[in-house]
């Protein structure tokens, strides 16, 4: 079966620094893939290149069997590839509800005429999206803060808004950049439970995370990146036993 997301030989450099030096990654449909590696391995850069924020210098990205290399970010979102950010800043002046509504697909209000005069279809769609936003908020336990500006939320709640915003776009695959980092343990656990639930319902997830206990509990397969390349991939136990992975984290033995 073709993986949902296939990255082949992806290369990217910033002013001569080779950040990605030929990354290969396959995220099987329905999987909860973990992406780990030491700081500076290029994990977030890989997400940025895959989600269209950076233009890769070489290599390909495919969604299912169709090529998605170099597509602009909004087309990738429309195609079902949605990502969250490590720094969940959002738009400081918008409320949680507005964040969710903003990333609903096919917003009728974006059409100038419909936005100005409002058509019956636009109102219906708007109501539909609002319903979805309420459902997602309830699910993520954000319903009591819907009208608060995101700046008033805790770090963990901001991460939940990021996830909620991503869900509004009806993703097929979710790229999560450290959604639990810097969040208090009980809320981090709650986020993990939400993710497991979403994955069970069929959502494919690719997760960057530094907490090995979480990776062990949630992810299969686990992909290891180091110095801009994919090092190895397999189950957590296989990867953890790999001497190259230990060297990447702890340094080479002399």
């Amino acid at each position: 079966m073709t993986p949902l997301l296939t990255v082949t030989g992806l290369k990217l450099d910033f002013y001569g620094v080779h950040v990605l030096r030929g990354v290969d990654l396959a995220v099987p449909a329905g999987s909860f893939t973990g992406l780990i590696g030491p700081n500076g391995a290029g994990k977030s850069t890989l997400f940025n290149a895959v989600s269209g924020l950076y233009r890769p210098k070489g290599g390909t990205v495919a969604l299912g069997s169709s090529d998605a290399t170099g597509l602009p970010p909004e087309e990738l979102v429309a195609a079902g590839l949605v990502r969250t950010f490590q720094l969940a800043r959002g738009f400081p002046k918008l409320s949680v509800f507005q964040h969710l509504m903003l990333y609903g697909a096919d917003q009728p209000g974006e059409n100038l005429l419909a936005g100005l005069f409002g058509s019956a279809a636009a109102r219906r769609r708007e109501a539909e999206l609002a319903g979805r936003a309420f459902d997602i908020a309830r699910r993520l336990k954000l319903d009591h803060v819907l009208d608060n500006p995101v700046t008033a939320l805790s770090g963990g709640q901001k991460k939940l808004v990021e996830i909620g915003r991503a869900l509004m776009a009806r993703p097929k695959i979710l790229l999560l950049d450290e959604p639990m980092a810097g969040v208090n343990p009980s809320l981090a656990d709650e986020i993990a439970e939400h993710l497991v639930g979403l994955n069970r319902e069929g959502l494919t997830i690719c997760l960057i995370e530094h907490d090995m206990a979480l990776i062990k509990r949630l992810c299969e397969p686990v992909v290891v990146m180091a110095e801009g390349k994919t090092l190895t991939q397999g189950s957590f136990e296989e990867v953890a036993a790999d001497i190259r992975v230990q060297e990447a984290y702890l340094g080479r033995r002399h």
């Binding site: 970010p73 979102v77 949605v82 950010f85 800043r89 738009f91 400081p92 990333y103």
Partner: protein
């Protein structure tokens, strides 16, 4: 008492004139995240464009302002795209220094065409209006009204139009905006056009009060920068508040110290602000 009131009135007037280029400067900073010191020459270019329209072509002041806006905006975009945009990836400091160089180049191009002489707009001379012991120039009043209208238009644009909303989205979070299909490069061009255009209009309003020469913009650069820092770099309402505060502070200082120290007020204002509240009066984050 009269002295104080007169200083307040004068301060509000000069503040309102500084506010227009300060809004342009802050808009560019908000979206592109670097201080563009070339706005000094954009102001001068606007002033000369309006002078040419007003004195050579004989147009009234409002069409001259429109021409100043268009020409300063266009020069801003061309300069940005040809000289500054390729440096953006190297950090704000590099672009800021390049903008100082760009300013010198543009300033000398103006000199090349117009020379160093002072020029005045073709405006009727009018007697100051007197209210008791207070004096207000009709010309200043007109400039004040123009500044208010222009800024109101800018606020309406940012608040209610799709483009204005897209600009604010990019300023707040460019990556998140891109996921929604907003292209920051396109927004950057429009922002520079608006920012440089506003600065050009500001140059005209400042020139209306006195006269213009190739250093017209450069002389107010510090005040514009101080106003933006005071209000909070990147905050557009902040730029207006900062400009008014600075204008009043400058005029009040004149009561106590000789006029030659006037520019020192801008420096002192920046120093005090950066020491005690680095994000400015209305700024959201420290810069």
């Amino acid at each position: 008492m009269t002295l104080l009131l007169q200083a307040l009135i004068n301060g509000l007037m000069t503040g309102a004139l500084i506010a227009v280029p300060a809004v342009g400067f802050s808009a560019i900073f908000a979206v592109l995240r670097y201080p563009n010191f070339a706005i000094a020459s954009y102001a001068t270019i606007g002033a000369f464009a309006a002078w040419w329209a007003n004195v050579v072509l004989g147009l009234p002041i409002i069409p001259a302002l429109v021409i100043a806006f268009a020409i300063a905006g266009t020069v801003g975009v061309v300069a940005e795209e040809s000289a500054l945009s390729r440096l953006r990836g190297n950090g704000a400091l590099i672009v800021a220094i390049a903008s100082i160089a760009l300013n010198l180049v543009l300033e000398n191009i103006i000199r090349f065409f117009f020379g160093n002489d002072m020029r005045g707009y073709d405006l009727p001379l009018m007697r100051d209006m007197r209210f008791g012991d207070l004096r207000i120039g009709p010309q200043q009043l007109q400039s004040l009204a123009l500044a208010v209208v222009i800024m109101a238009a800018m606020f309406a644009f940012l608040r209610y139009t799709r483009f204005g909303k897209a600009m604010r989205a990019v300023a707040d979070n460019p990556d998140l905006a891109r996921l929604k299909g907003i292209d920051p490069a396109r927004i950057a061009i429009v922002t520079v056009f608006l920012g440089a255009g506003l600065t050009g209009v500001g140059g005209v309003l400042i020139g209306l009060d006195t006269s213009i020469d190739p250093l017209t913009g450069y002389r107010v650069l510090l005040s514009v920068f101080a106003a933006a820092v005071l209000g909070g770099l990147g905050s557009i309402p902040g730029a207006v508040v900062g400009a008014l505060a600075l204008g009043i502070a400058e005029e009040l200082a004149l009561i106590a110290v000789p006029a030659t120290y006037r520019t020192a007020v801008g420096f002192i204002a920046i120093l005090i602000m950066l020491t005690f509240r680095p994000r400015g009066i209305l700024g959201e984050r420290a810069v």
